[in-house]
Subunit: 349 residues, 2 copies
């Protein structure tokens, strides 16, 4: 049942009466080969239906020509954009990509890391899970000098290239915008402080308050899972606060949207009673009413940058900047969910 036999370079060599070394050179565009034989061999390969055997090549070269990507979740449009950017760069460089996702669980992240290690990927691009609290599972890569690039959810203390946005700035601007709109009491709904992204957004939030001479209150900080359900629960908690805040910074768009929906159901108006700012600029930010003010950043670019760093390292184009932290641009997009003052700016997609 097994189709016809696979064609190998031996078959081509035999047919053309050359050595397999020559065939290999031709197929790999080596320079020490005449244009004539190269052409002849490529034609024969096509005629015979030759297909390249990666296993043999990898075995011989001790390289997999594959990079592993570890992400925390597939479902966000941000992640998807990043993957798109990574894919573009790796494909152009002739690398394959294996995607492993942890569903936000450290346990799965560890498994994925081990799996990719055993699969001998040449490099790793990773964003940490919600609850990852140590990076031991990445040590095997370090020990074997397999390059690691982290993006978005990174661990500051870990020595490696990192690609991030300025979450502090994002948090600061979001909060400051709410202050500009006249909010005095501003709450924040965010994720575990374990993750740098949430910690930084939080720092930006707090500093914006303090810089404006406003009080920072612990009880105005709500930390949860940042999923759909969390938004609803956060809404209940917020409405129990005294005073009820006039502004809330929710550090994720899905949660911000379900939060808005919930407080509206509870009889509050957005932005009149409570102004809301999100984070990410997902599609959902344009579906919710009122449309959501949010922090936009370019996931695709982030993926491109991360992959480019990694590939350059693999290609030996390493320079001192290799262990640097690269910051990708982000910006606040102002929409109706936060505009107390009645003046309305154009919404952006």
């Amino acid at each position: 049942m097994e189709g016809k036999k696979e064609i190998t370079i031996y078959d081509i060599a035999r047919k053309l009466d050359v050595s397999t070394a020559t065939v290999s050179r031709a197929l790999n565009n080596s320079k020490s080969i005449s244009e004539k034989t190269r052409k002849k061999i490529n034609e024969a390969a096509r005629d015979l239906g030759y297909r390249h055997n990666n296993f043999a090549k990898n075995l011989r070269k001790q390289k997999s020509h594959t990079i592993g990507v570890i992400i925390h979740e597939l479902v966000s449009s941000f992640t998807t954009s990043v993957l798109g950017g990574i894919e573009k760069v790796t494909t152009e460089a002739g690398y394959d990509m294996i995607i492993a996702h942890s569903s936000e669980q450290m346990e799965k992240e560890v498994k994925n890391a081990n799996n990719l290690f055993h699969k001998r990927v040449d490099g790793i691009i990773a964003s940490l899970a919600f609850n990852t609290d140590n990076l031991d599972h990445f040590m095997p890569f370090v020990d074997k000098d397999i390059p690691l690039v982290f993006f978005d959810r990174v661990e500051d203390s870990f020595q490696s290239t990192k690609v991030i946005i300025d979450n502090y700035k994002g948090g600061y601007e979001a909060t400051n915008h709410l202050i500009q709109q006249g909010c005095k009491n501003i709450a924040i709904v965010t994720g575990p402080q374990l993750r740098n992204v949430y910690k930084r957004r939080f720092s930006g939030y707090r500093d914006a308050l303090l810089d404006a001479g406003l009080k920072f209150r612990e009880d105005f900080v709500i930390i949860n899972e940042l999923d759909y359900q969390s938004g609803i629960e956060a809404a209940k908690q917020i409405l129990k606060l005294n005073p009820i805040p006039e502004g809330v910074f929710v550090t994720n768009d899905l949660t911000a949207a379900s939060f808005i929906k919930a407080i509206k159901d509870m009889g509050k108006c957005v932005p009149e009673d409570i102004a809301v700012v999100g984070f990410n600029n997902d599609n959902i930010s344009l579906i919710i009413e009122p449309e959501l003010t949010t922090v936009n950043y370019n996931g695709f670019l982030m993926g491109e940058v991360a992959a480019t760093q990694l590939i350059n390292h693999l290609l030996g184009k390493t320079d001192v900047s290799q262990l640097s932290t690269i910051i990708v641009h982000s910006e606040l997009i102002i929409r109706k969910s936060s505009l107390k003052s009645g003046r309305r700016k154009q919404s952006t997609i």
Copy 2:
């Protein structure tokens, strides 16, 4: 710089003074080996930090132990669920999974198929791109007896295992529900009829109309890309119809949501002026106001079923049902966006 040298079965064999054959047997849990040596070898492997070399194994076995997954888009929560289901089954069976996505372009789908073919995946699970109009790129797999399983977006005329939902039923029930709500003029916003899913949903729509003695009108059929922007454009078109339909069936939740948003912006009420039913039960269906009536189906299960079919085939557990079409359960979830009559059912997540 290259860490320490890799440990191979030769190192283990030498240390324990046995043959590599024995080591291989022990590591693969062969039965023709004594419990004692097996244990000894496994311990040594652990001590030495042995890691399995897949390239050599695959080269030798002529199998990649990898299955390729070709999907049209990563960004939907449906796709993500399916991938989750596939991953669960393939991982349990010890297979790896390579994900390739086509961004809805046939051109990329062809490239992905070729790539996976050259990578010698043992099997393929695929859902077709928006505009794929022939399946020649899957013929190499057929020729080599590499099993193919299609899910969701399948091509009826192609001989292979298929895992789908009953899109006809979904379309029929959605439309019928609108009829029950008293709609006489019902429009449909859907995707290219090339794709079975949209064709079937459309057939269900039309038959529901005809069965209820209502007129089917060509000008009430809008076909587009079913993305965010499409919903806005569809809204403009719908409001130009004469008469303006009292019900619209939009065969995708994101588009349904942006459609609702747009017609509300144009001064119409949902469901009073226009009742809307979507398809997929995405998160977004609970964010849009009013909440969206939609067709729910279990993507995770679909992925599990598809992967199980494929793995069984690979394991030789094939039976006659192999080339069958498997239909996964789906159901209409009724929410406020379609309830003209004022009675309100509980919404479901």
